[in-house]
Symmetry: C2
Subunit: 335 residues, 2 copies
């Protein structure tokens, strides 16, 4: 079986063959270069670009509903989409452990290429490094992305106001549970698949009403709770959430009981939170639901003046509790 | 002693404190976000941006003349500069091993910030992941960079013509020897420092004559020989190099003898090769020498029609030999 060797990262013939034989065709790159020269499409306005990066170290590399490859594309596409950008170009940097299976690498590359096509972005520059056996863990992938920000788009927690509504695009906790299940050799009934998906078509729909959209964020590491806490602290307002309205699919709920996890803190990779003016919230929920990846979109709460900087979870029987940031390392290496 | 823990990569409070307490101040980032929204300065012309990425896995992390931090900035700045771009913005993604020294991380961050200032670029987005002890090697850093490409600049090996001159900006092999010496506990007399440096001010000087500049490239992994071979193969021409004219400082020459290395294949991190029309080569060498990092700039050879795709090294006593790509892994983890 063909394996990655140290020479694949040394800049000579072996790396040249790896890049021109595997990465370049998969990503439809014609000339392989260290840097890509790109035209930006601009409609007269001064161009604003968005730039983002994430490294992916998920363990295991393959999990129900995805693998590190599509995750590395979707995660960075989504970071760009959350600031209101239209993602255009990605870079991809690979740190591969000596001895890693070429067949698994091929699967990962294929998955990245498919995810890029699905999101409508191009992977235009890349890099490959190989580290000695025992100095890495299979493969780590970094992606960086560039997008253009349309005129009039200004996503900021500073724009959140009392009365705004908080919408989530779908059932939470799926990615984290899928990875933790795979890591621990568990399967769930009903099965739980990662939500790994690009959100940029959904954000484009949402941004048809840019003036009414205050801020969007995808609750990855740290989960829904951590993102809501960020909204509360950054805006100095209170996020009041109805616990029963937060969608948690049965497989996720059961798995969280079993694993001792709170789904509010479990990572998502294809789910977004958006804060909008109250008069457009029903309209936007309907529009979001036209996208398969947001078919479960729903309002989960609203913004109040106080207690300042707090996230309050209220239950149907009249109780309430405060929600804080994720503490420590509930789920290491989830993405 | 403060150490990196798994929780520093989990998206919660500990990571928040790491990012807002250490990375953000060092890079002068005000609001920490997953993506940065940027204005591009454009002078009426359609904006072309350059985008590049590299991961850095150098071992050891600290070496004479630099460390992984300045290397990660200079390497990506130089990749952008080589396509004729003016580097503007960088991203930085860290993969840190659990237990890594916070003091060493601080040194690395400081070094990155200094290198960014020296190159006139801003680090505008970042990401932190932590992997379990034994699943990484201290710290790996990925940087991606964006630059603008001025109108009229078109660097391509397709523009190389017979008669063109080949210029190198300084003494070769310094980075690789500095790292290999440190890795093996050797010191050399005279001492050898890495050439790690930004090349974007030098390329800006060179590009004052864009019509006469055919292609620029920084010979990193694979060294001068591999870059010349790329020029030869891509252009279908012959690179004829006078061996005596290739600058190799005495410490590098001695160390290469000792370590059994050929300086032509040893990595550089602040040295460039440029192919220019013959009528401007003397002028450009003089202009390049005004920059301290290119004080040793010199013409090392010229382009001939054949043998096609070859690099021929000629010696003063009339001999010649063919130079090929680097084979295998002469120097793993040099950057």
């Amino acid at each position: 079986m063909e394996k990655i060797l140290l020479g694949h990262g040394s800049g000579g013939r072996m790396m040249h063959e790896l890049v021109s034989g595997r990465f370049a065709p998969a990503f439809e790159i014609k000339g392989v270069a260290d840097a890509a020269v790109l035209e930006l499409a601009v409609d007269g306005a001064p161009p604003r670009i968005a730039l983002s990066t994430d490294s992916y170290v998920v363990s295991p590399l393959f999990f129900p509903g995805g693998n590190i490859g599509d995750l590395a594309v979707n995660g960075t596409v989504n970071d760009l989409a959350m600031v209101g950008a239209r993602p255009l170009y990605l870079t991809a940097g690979f740190i591969i452990e000596e001895g890693f299976s070429m067949a698994e690498l091929d699967l990962i590359i294929k998955s990245m290429a498919g995810a890029a096509r699905a999101a409508g972005v191009r992977i235009v520059a890349g890099d490959t490094k190989v580290v000695d056996r025992g100095k890495g863990d299979g493969v780590f992938i970094n992606t960086a992305g560039v997008g253009v920000v349309p005129p009039g788009v200004d996503m900021s927690t500073g724009r959140i106001s009392p009365g705004d509504r908080i919408i989530v695009s779908g059932s939470i906790g799926r990615h984290g549970v899928a990875v933790m299940g795979e890591r621990n050799g568990l399967s769930f009934e009903p099965p739980v698949l990662s939500d790994s998906a690009p959100l940029n078509t959904i954000t484009r729909t949402i941004l048809e009403r840019p003036e009414a959209v205050k801020v969007m964020r995808d609750p990855t590491r740290g989960g829904l709770a951590t993102t809501l806490k960020e909204f509360a602290v950054e805006s100095g307002l209170c996020m009041l959430i109805e616990e029963e309205s937060v969608p948690v699919e049965p497989g996720v709920a059961g798995a969280c009981d079993l694993l001792g996890l709170d789904p509010l803190y479990v990572a998502n990779e294809g789910t977004l939170l958006v804060v909008v003016a109250s008069d457009v919230s029903d309209y936007l929920v309907e529009k979001m639901r036209e996208h398969p990846a947001a078919a479960g979109a729903t309002v989960i709460g609203k913004v109040e003046k106080g207690p300042e900087g707090s996230v309050v979870l209220s239950t149907s029987i009249g109780g309430s509790r405060l929600v804080d940031y994720l503490q420590g390392d509930q789920l290491p290496r989830i993405c």
